[in-house]
Symmetry: none
Subunit: 465 residues, 2 copies
């Protein structure tokens, strides 16, 4: 009740400033005077003034009262809208999807809709952490990060056959930051890094920041093309190979055991270190082989996060590797971002150790399987085929007739409020001009396929001209 | 005899490479210059260089001298367990302080004790956010970060005279990450960066990750030494100057208006961009001039965070600069860590807009002023003087008699459960062997001064031997 009155006073002052009844530098009414004027208690006015002062809208001057702080910086109306004319580079999809306003449809984005995420789980975890000891709320994290979470991760990855003690695990602020730290540790400008072709577009963006030569190895439905992989090693002497294990992004394909074995044999004969990004681990129905498990964390570094299944807002990722490298990576982490976000680690730990998380995952997998079926059917109606039928996950990698330009289709759809993920954004070779990645959980709205159908029609007409 | 001297030179070069003072590809001092510097004969240096070349550590290029061969030295030597014997490099204090067990005293650390921090404020903010709409709990942040927080920051920095619209502000995960992103945007390996000498030790660690040549400019009680600053610009053509505004770390000195004006005049005639780290802004009693305010965010980039006064666990920092640079920095942020931590931004926003934060700051400043008085007196009893009497903040920069080795004193104190911050950890020139930085809020326990007194006694005895 009191809170509403305070809000009322704040609103009142805001309006006076906006209407220039209160000019910058002018003194506000005394607490007592305003209380009398508005028929409110002195304490309500005091609290409202305190809040306005803490927001920098008014200033207290000792002994003389409160004053309007100054011209409000103009609130930009153009809060950086999606840039329709921005060229389609590796950051195109990220920025479109991250900047999308309410109502824009995002079959091109890489995450679940917010109403698919386990809010109650997170709310409960946040409430729990709000009662934690003081030190958890204000202290910097230890260099490796929250010990109980590292112990939990150690047990979790053991279920995929990966043996890492807690002191072989470094918490990071995200899966992306995990790869970034590894790049900082192993690479120097102009080094060569292998990625899958196609691969998660942000690998390209990240490697470009590091000024790295990127070589794409064609990805097949069972993993990287071994002949091309072997040739790339011989020809380029690459330092890292960055790939997804479990469910591959964008193709939805899964690395098979024989391919994994052959990949490791080739890696062993080279100078190569493998970064295995396992960010979709919790969406698997059946556990695929992990390179880090076969190799015993000798040449393979395992990374992951929970952005896809718990929250993209509470950010925590991790690196599992040899303890010697972990120590050096922790030094780089301190140097470049000081501590990690300990509060987020605590929230994540509380959410993961709540029994509901497992139940939520079971339901999520069923929901995703249904969405995948529906999306496949919708796409088939438009004559669009999937490159492989994924066994799980959120992505469909779709092939359009060869003469189609999916970047142009994406631009066209964006003008109608639908953000797509055109194939070449995922490709170093730019060989996927006629591909599109669909996120099945973000492809529920029929409007998406209407807009897409029109864009395809438009594309066909373009071709005829 | 000569052989020992040659070994000494070899050792000297090894250490420079190890400390990343000499980077791969960089030229070694000429034979004649090094001979002069080390007071050794030219032939000794020639022989040492020849041996290093034969070991492949350096390379001779005909007609142009000797060059470091590579690869890059690891960032530092790390051990897995308590690191009492770890050499004192820029990461020494960070890791000691971050890893300290309960009961260890930390006058050397850079933050407030947890019972000085505003827990109830943070708890309230966390509870508030636990009730926020679902999207806040699970969605990735927008590229620039939470809009209301950027609006608040825009108003807050306006009170220091810095005009930045909300779309000129990029949220980051920490003040350190803010500087890291700026380094990634403006620097390439072997570029030259100016820092204050002494300066916050993590600037050195961060710049070493970027393989930057660091040049220290002596810091005076009114700001950087202008003559040295001017000379450094002429001689090294540096790209960035990274400094603290408001309260300087570690000295507690404050940049004065005339010095600020002269610094900007020199900057304008150069290729230099200034990064002004304002992380202690909320501890000021009187507002010092800000370079970013004078310069209108043209050549000066303003950064800050709330790790020191709100929480080191809920991490959010920011960059305020030209909107064109903000857009590019946002791209780098997405590429290297995808989204920011939106949940932390929401918690920070709730905590900052709660009227209690301002009250807490008022009390904190009084408490710090008292702690500063007490610490000064305790140090005086041990014959330790402060280099300048700080007007506010948490640090005292203390000078011991010239023959004291504060690194040795720090090692000694660490063995007795007290973590100090020895002077040379803050210095590129290594000219502060006999300095120590004290955090007055962490110097309440009398045991600190007992341990310190013994260590000093031990040091005096060492000198007599």
């Amino acid at each position: 009740m009191k809170s509403t009155k305070i809000e009322f006073v704040i609103q009142h002052i805001h309006e006076q400033i906006k209407a220039r009844s209160l000019l910058p530098g002018s003194r506000l009414p005394s607490v007592r005077a305003l209380a009398g004027l508005l028929h409110l208690s002195v304490s309500t006015i005091v609290e409202a003034y305190e809040r306005l002062a803490s927001q920098g809208i008014i200033e207290a001057k000792t002994g003389s009262g409160f004053f309007v702080a100054g011209p409000l910086a103009p609130l930009s109306i153009s809060e950086i809208h999606p840039k329709i004319d921005r060229s389609i580079d590796p950051l195109w999809i990220s920025r479109q999807a991250l900047e999308a306003k309410q109502g824009v449809l995002k079959p091109g984005c890489g995450w679940l809709p917010d109403d698919w995420m386990p809010h109650e789980n997170i709310r409960k975890a946040i409430r729990k952490v709000s009662k934690a000891p003081a030190s958890i709320l204000t202290d910097y994290s230890t260099p490796l990060g929250l010990a109980p979470l590292r112990e939990l991760l150690s047990r979790r990855i053991l279920s995929k056959g990966i043996e890492a003690r807690p002191n072989q695990i470094l918490l990071t602020d995200s899966g992306t930051q995990a790869i970034d730290l590894i790049c900082r540790y192993f690479l120097k400008p102009n080094d060569v890094v292998l990625v899958d072709d196609p691969c998660y577009f942000n690998f390209h963006a990240l490697l470009k920041v590091h000024q790295i030569q990127i070589i794409g190895v064609p990805y097949t439905p069972t993993g990287p093309d071994l002949e091309a992989f072997s040739q790339a090693i011989k020809k380029h002497n690459p330092r890292l190979y960055i790939t997804n294990s479990g469910i591959h992004n964008p193709t939805g394909a899964v690395l098979t055991a024989p391919t994994a074995y052959q990949v490791l044999k080739l890696v062993e004969q080279s100078n190569l270190i493998v970064v295995e990004d396992d960010i979709f681990a919790d969406l698997e129905l059946h556990s695929a082989p992990r390179l880090a498990a076969l190799d015993g964390l000798s040449r393979v570094i395992h990374i992951g996060s929970f952005s896809k299944t718990l929250s993209g807002s509470v950010r925590t990722g991790y690196i599992a590797t040899q303890s010697e490298w972990i120590e050096d990576l922790a030094d780089i982490k301190i140097a470049t971002c000081f501590g990690g976000n300990n509060l987020s680690s605590e929230i994540l730990y509380a959410a993961l150790t709540d029994g509901n998380y497992r139940k939520y995952l079971e339901e999520l997998k069923v929901r995703l399987a249904k969405a995948m079926d529906t999306t496949v059917k919708q796409l088939e109606k438009l004559g669009i085929k999937t490159w492989v039928k994924p066994s799980a996950g959120i992505f469909l990698w779709c092939e359009l007739p060869e003469y189609f330009d999916s970047a142009r289709i994406a631009q066209n759809c964006l003008e109608h409020g639908v953000i797509l993920a055109p194939g070449n954004a995922f490709s170093q070779s730019q060989n996927f001009k006629n591909f599109i990645r669909f996120n099945v959980a973000q492809s529920i709205e029929p409007k998406i396929f209407e807009v897409l159908s029109h864009a395809i029609q438009h594309e066909i007409e373009q071709q005829r001209l």
